[in-house]
C-alpha cells in the first residue's frame, strides 16, 4: 500500500458479510483485513497473546472481530461489528454480521446501509437453506450488489465444475428474487485464493478477486431515474445582524438531485415554491445530490418545519395514512395486531397502529404463512399500518431511504421493527434487463 496514493480522496463502499457459522466468514474477513495490511502489529500481538492464553496454537483471527466479553467467552458473534480498511482505490466500511439464524435482525441492520453483500458458501455443501435465506434478505433489503463467495475451493481440488454448478444455481435463485447484480467468485479464504491475490490454482477463472471487485463496483446510481427527496431535519435561522433574514431548511438529500430555480412542493402541506439557493455546508452551489447534507433556501416564506419533505413539484409522492409494508421484527417482545406504536419515516415521527398482519414469510422456501397473529424477533412479514398523520412514502424499491421506516415502542423507546414500504420482491423481468446493462453478466 503506497502512502502517496492514500493521501488522495477515494470513494467509500459500505458492504456487509453474510455466511453460516462454519463457512469461514471470520477467515475471509481476517484475510481481507490482513492481506490489505489493515491489521496493525499491536492488534495482531493482542490476538496472539489472547489466543496463547486460551491454549490455541496459532492466532485466532475471530478474536480480532469479537469485541465483547460475552462474545469471547462464548466464542460466538452476537452483534454487528463495523470494520474499516482502505486500499489506494477505495475506503471500506464492513458490517460484519453474525451468521446464526436467530440473528436475522443483525443481518438486516448490517445490510440496511450496505451497497453490497458478500454471501459465503462452503464449496463442499453448495447452496443450502441458510444461503437462500441470505439471498432473500439481500433481495428484500434491495442491496444493489451481491457477491457469492464460493469458499473452501482448496477442499474440492479447485474444480471448475463444482464452482460453476453452485454459481449457476445461486444466480438463478437470486435473479428470481430480484437481486439485480450477482458476481460469483471461487475462493479459498484460508489459503488466500482470489481474496486479495489472484489464485494460481484456478487459472480457469477469469474474473476479479473479491477485493478487486469491491474496489471497482459502482457506488452510485443513475440519478436521472431517481425521485428527488429531501427530509427537512432542522430550520436554520441565525437572526443575527449579519444574517437577519436567513431561513434555511437543512437536511441530507435522501434521493436524486435538486437544483437552484427548481419548482418544489412541501409535503404533507402541498405548498409550492422555488429553490432560491443551496448551501453545501457553507458553500453556495447550483446543484446538490443524494447523501449530501445541504441547506435549501426558498423564494417564498412558507411554513416548513422538521419532518416535512421537499420534493420536485413534478414528481411528488402520494401522501397516505395507510401503509403496507414488509417488515423485519427486531425486538424481543412480539408485534401484534392492535399494537400502538410510533413510526419514524425520514425526519418525521408519528403515532401509528398495527391494523393487520396478513402474512409471515418463511425465508427457507419463501412461502407465506397467512395471518400469523403476531411477529416475533427475527420474523419477516407483511404489515398494514394506519398512521395518525398523512406521510409521503415511496416504495422501498424506488428509494431505500424514503421507502423505509422504523417502528418504536412509545413506552420505552425500543426499536421494534424495520419496515420497507410496498411490494417485497421485485418482478424478475425488468431486473434481468438491468443486470445486462450493468455488464456483470454470467
Amino acid at each position: 500500500m503506497s502512502t502517496t496514493t492514500e493521501l488522495t480522496e477515494t470513494t467509500l463502499l459500505r458492504f456487509a458479510t453474510a455466511g453460516s457459522v462454519d463457512d469461514g466468514k471470520s477467515t475471509l474477513v481476517g484475510r481481507l483485513l490482513h492481506d490489505s495490511k489493515s491489521i496493525l502489529t499491536d492488534q495482531l500481538e493482542a490476538v496472539e497473546r489472547a489466543s496463547a492464553s486460551r491454549g490455541a496454537e496459532g492466532p485466532d483471527l475471530a478474536l480480532l472481530t469479537d469485541g465483547l466479553r460475552a462474545e469471547r467467552e462464548q466464542g460466538i458473534t452476537i452483534d454487528v461489528a463495523y470494520r474499516y480498511f482502505a486500499t489506494p482505490r477505495r475506503r471500506f466500511i464492513l458490517a460484519d454480521t453474525p451468521g446464526h439464524v436467530q440473528y436475522t435482525r443483525n443481518m438486516v441492520t448490517g445490510a440496511s446501509t450496505a451497497e453490497l453483500t458478500v454471501i459465503l458458501i462452503d464449496a463442499r455443501n453448495g447452496v443450502v437453506e441458510q444461503t437462500r435465506r441470505h439471498a432473500a434478505l439481500a433481495a428484500l433489503l434491495r442491496v444493489p450488489h451481491v457477491v457469492l463467495a464460493v469458499n473452501k475451493m482448496d477442499l474440492v481440488d479447485y474444480a471448475e465444475p463444482v464452482f460453476a454448478a453452485i454459481a449457476e444455481e445461486f444466480t438463478a435463485y437470486a435473479t428470481e428474487l430480484g437481486v439485480p447484480d450477482v458476481t460469483a467468485i471461487p475462493i479459498s479464504a484460508l489459503a488466500g485464493d482470489n481474496v486479495v491475490e489472484p489464485s494460481a490454482n484456478m487459472d480457469w477463472y477469469g474474473g476479479p478477486t473479491v477485493l478487486e471487485h469491491l474496489e471497482t463496483v459502482p457506488v452510485t446510481h443513475d440519478l436521472s431515474h431517481c425521485h428527488a427527496r429531501l427530509p427537512v431535519q432542522y430550520v436554520i435561522r441565525p437572526q443575527t445582524a449579519e444574517h437577519p433574514d436567513y431561513r434555511g431548511y437543512a437536511g441530507q438529500i435522501a434521493a436524486g438531485s435538486f437544483h437552484v430555480g427548481e419548482q418544489i412542493t412541501v409535503l404533507p402541506s402541498g405548498r409550492s415554491t422555488k429553490i432560491a439557493g443551496i448551501d453545501l455546508l457553507g458553500e453556495p452551489v447550483d446543484v446538490a445530490w443524494t447523501t449530501q447534507s445541504v441547506t435549501i433556501l426558498l423564494e417564498d416564506d412558507i411554513d416548513i418545519s422538521r419532518g416535512d419533505l421537499l420534493v420536485p413539484s413534478k414528481d411528488a409522492p402520494p401522501t397516505t395514512q395507510d401503509i403496507e409494508a414488509t417488515v423485519c421484527h427486531v425486538a424481543d417482545a412480539p408485534l401484534t395486531v392492535g399494537h400502538r406504536v410510533l413510526l419514524k419515516h425520514g425526519t418525521r415521527t408519528v403515532k401509528a397502529i398495527v391494523k393487520d398482519i396478513p402474512s409471515r414469510l418463511t425465508l427457507d422456501d419463501l412461502s407465506l404463512h397467512p395471518h400469523p397473529g403476531q411477529l416475533v424477533a427475527n420474523d419477516i412479514g407483511r404489515v398494514k399500518i394506519r398512521t395518525a398523520e398523512p406521510l409521503p412514502v415511496d416504495s422501498y424499491s424506488d428509494s431505500r431511504r424514503t421507502g423505509s421506516f422504523i417502528l418504536i415502542d412509545p413506552n420505552d423507546g425500543t426499536t421494534l421493527t424495520a419496515g420497507m414500504v410496498g411490494e417485497s420482491f421485485a418482478s424478475p423481468e425488468p431486473v434481468k434487463d438491468e443486470s445486462e446493462d450493468d455488464g456483470w453478466d454470467f
Binding site: 493521501l7 493482542a46 477505495r90 449530501q292 427486531v330 419514524k344 422504523i406
Partner: protein, 312 residues
C-alpha cells in the same frame, strides 16, 4: 461456464459519487442535525484532542451561518497538557461557546475520589462526567469516539442509550437501521452520540488537512522532556512522573492522542506538519491507542468495562 466481466471505469461513477471524506462529513452533519432536531439539551464532549476538534468543526458547518445550538463539556483530569487547555479556551472564546467543566481534581480534593497508586486519572473521569450530565440534565452527549479505535467501540451504535447511571449495556443496544436514528429515552437517561463512528484515524487527519483545521502544537514533532515507562514516552511533570529509576531525556516526539498526561504516551517523530503526520500514520504499523494509551493495556476488556460504567 465462463465468467465475463465488463470493467466499470472509475470515471463513469464520478459525477455523483461523493469522495469518502465528503460522505463521512455529510453523515456526521446529518447526525448533528438529528440531535439538534430531537433533543432538548445536547452537549459536545470537548477535550481539545483532534477528534473533538473535528467534531466542533463539523458542528460549525452543520448549522452555519447560525451558531452551534449546543454547549461544550470538558472533563478536566487536572493532568492536562497546558497547550491543550490554552487551545480549548481560545476556541471557546472565538466561537462564543459556553463551556462546562467537570473537574477530577475537585472530586479528589473533596475526598469523593481517591488518587490511584499508578497516578493515572483516566478511570477517575467517569464519575465527574456522569454527575455533570445528571446535574445539567444533558440528554444527548456527543463523543468523538471512533469504531476503529478499539474492538469494544467497533460494536457501539451511533446513538448509544445510557441508563440513569450512564451505563452501557452492549447486549441491549437498539439495532440501527438505515439512517433512522432512534433517540427516545426516559427522563434521567441520555444518549451518547458518536458522529465520527465511521471515521478512522487517517480520515480524521486527511480531513484536518483538507479543512485546514488548527490543532494544539503537541500533535506535531517538538523537543520535549520525557521518560520511558512500559515502552511509552511520558511527559515529566507534577502528576507523579518520573519515579526513581526513570530517567528524563530530551527527545523529538509528538502525540497521536491527547488525554491525561499520566497515561498518554508520545511517539518518536519528526513529523512537524500535517502532511508529514499523514505520511507517518499511513506507514505506521501500530494503532493509535496501542501506541500511546496505557489504560487500554490493563486488560483485554478494559475499554468495554469502562464504557459499561459510563466512560465515553
Amino acid at each position: 461456464m465462463t465468467t465475463t466481466v465488463t470493467k466499470v471505469e472509475d470515471g463513469t461513477e464520478a459525477p455523483y459519487a461523493l469522495s469518502h471524506l465528503d460522505a463521512l462529513e455529510s453523515e456526521a452533519v446529518h447526525i448533528f442535525r438529528e440531535v439538534a432536531g430531537e433533543f432538548e439539551r445536547p452537549v459536545i464532549l470537548f477535550s481539545g484532542g483532534k477528534d473533538s476538534i473535528v467534531m466542533l468543526h463539523l458542528a460549525l458547518k452543520a448549522f452555519a451561518p447560525a451558531a452551534i445550538p449546543f454547549s461544550l463539556l470538558h472533563v478536566d483530569t487536572g493532568h492536562n497538557f497546558p497547550e491543550v487547555l490554552e487551545y480549548r479556551d481560545r476556541v471557546v472564546a472565538a466561537h462564543g461557546l459556553r463551556l462546562h467543566v467537570a473537574s477530577v481534581q475537585d472530586y479528589i480534593d473533596r475526598g469523593v475520589l481517591k488518587e490511584r497508586p499508578d497516578g493515572t486519572r483516566n478511570p477517575l473521569q467517569t464519575l465527574p462526567l456522569t454527575e455533570k450530565i445528571q446535574a445539567e440534565k444533558f440528554d444527548a452527549v456527543f463523543g468523538g469516539g471512533r469504531r476503529d479505535e478499539e474492538k469494544a467501540r467497533a460494536k457501539e451504535r451511533v446513538f448509544s442509550l445510557r441508563d440513569e447511571f450512564s451505563q452501557w449495556d452492549p447486549r441491549r443496544q437498539r439495532p440501527e437501521l438505515w439512517n433512522l436514528y432512534n433517540g427516545r429515552h426516559a427522563p434521567g437517561e441520555h444518549v451518547r452520540v458518536f458522529p465520527l463512528s465511521n471515521w478512522t484515524e487517517l480520515d480524521v487527519w486527511q480531513y484536518i488537512a483538507r479543512e485546514k483545521i488548527e490543532l494544539p502544537e503537541i500533535y506535531f514533532a517538538h523537543e520535549r522532556e520525557v521518560f520511558s515507562r512500559s515502552g511509552m514516552w511520558l511527559t515529566a511533570g507534577e502528576w507523579g512522573g518520573p519515579k526513581d529509576g526513570e530517567t528524563v531525556e530530551k527527545r523529538l516526539v509528538r502525540y497521536r492522542t491527547v488525554g491525561d498526561m499520566s497515561c498518554t504516551g508520545a511517539v518518536d517523530s519528526d513529523a512537524d506538519s500535517i502532511e508529514k503526520v499523514i505520511t507517518e500514520i499511513a506507514a505506521s504499523r501500530l494503532t493509535e491507542r496501542g501506541a500511546t494509551r496505557a489504560d487500554d493495556k490493563m486488560s483485554e476488556a478494559a475499554m468495554e468495562d469502562r464504557k459499561r460504567e459510563g466512560y465515553f
